[in-house]
Amino acid sequence: MKQIETQQLWDFIDGQCTAEEAATLKSALETDPNVKAEWAKRFKLHQQLSELPAEQPSMRFVQNLMDKLPLLYRKLSIAPLVKPFWVKTALGFLALLLVGYIGFVFFYIEQFGVNGQFTYLESMKNYLNQAPAKFLILFAAISISLSCLFVLDRFLKARFQKESQASSS
């Protein structure tokens, strides 16, 4: 058989030929025993190839792989959930608030606090005494939380780096 004919037979077996080609081949299969024998050999080969079983890895394949993942997983989770841009923006905003707050305090004291009777420090104390307690507690809580988070972040980063260095070596 010529190559073009074998290609047609494979296309027919793979279901890749047109309806017209399929009809021509079906008619040839019915009338020509040589074509049928050639088709049959290829079809048998096709069947056998389809029925070849998958290779089996070792029984511990999945377990071995999963054992490697915890460390890998921690490495992956280092990636920040929030993009650095937004972290910087938030920090910038907080810094701006703090500067604004301090500026406001100094402006307040300048305008209303220092009148010859009090020093700057005493004026500041007076101002803080006038500030609502809830506001001071909230401000302190935010400051302490941010500081703790910053320290925790540094600690965890250092630990992960140490572990990844240990695993790579």
């Binding site: 049928k36 290829r42 079809f43 080969l45 056998q48 890895p57 992956l76």
Partner: protein
């Protein structure tokens, strides 16, 4: 397909058991490809593990536009061929040299004598184990997970016509090698 997407999303949320399910589901296919490319069990298993680790690390970059298996087998195909290149195994394909019949005749002086002693499937497995890596992976992708030629093109980066030609020549080559055995087994089809 939907189950795969659920497992992928769960994995991305940190559920390692979901990833374990994915590994259990596809380990045989991935291992079969790596084994047929590399021909050695230990190397194939090591490479299959590398494939799943790569998949785990880059799962976030899977855009879910194609099937997960297409992406997984593309990673497998590239990783296995890279490994074969590193080990200096000959990876060129059936079209890359003039020798049309590349399969070594390892069946002795008279192939039919040896063939008759084993069943057709065993002979076929032996013949596939002697194919060059690219060719072995094409046959495996086409038959093992019934990938379409279009999907195989997406996995391997080869053109559709190139894949069709290679598959045609490879199967003709296998047919020639197993001619006598096939002849004996086609009576029910005639």
């Amino acid at each position: 397909m939907e189950e795969d997407i659920k497992l992928i999303n769960a994995t991305l949320k940190g559920d390692q058991f979901a990833f374990q399910h994915l590994v259990e589901k596809y380990q045989h296919y991935v291992f079969t490809i790596t084994y047929r490319v590399l021909k050695r069990r230990e190397e194939a298993e090591e490479t299959a593990q590398d494939v799943f680790i790569k998949v785990y690390k880059t799962l976030g970059s899977f855009e879910q536009r194609s099937k997960f298996t297409t992406w997984l087998y593309a990673v497998t195909y590239r990783t296995a061929l890279d490994k074969a290149r590193k080990k200096n195994y000959p990876i060129d394909s059936i079209d890359d040299d003039d020798n049309y019949l590349q399969l070594e005749n390892t069946f002795g002086e008279s192939p039919s004598d040896a063939i008759q002693q084993e069943d057709l499937q065993s002979q076929l497995e032996r013949a596939i184990s002697r194919l060059k890596p690219v060719d072995a992976s094409l046959i495996t992708l086409f038959y093992l997970h019934e990938k379409s030629i279009k999907e195989i093109a997406a996995i391997t980066g080869l053109t559709i016509s190139n894949i069709k030609t290679k598959l045609h020549r490879l199967r003709e080559q296998l047919k020639v090698l197993l001619e006598e055995q096939l002849q004996q087994e086609i009576h029910d089809l005639l």
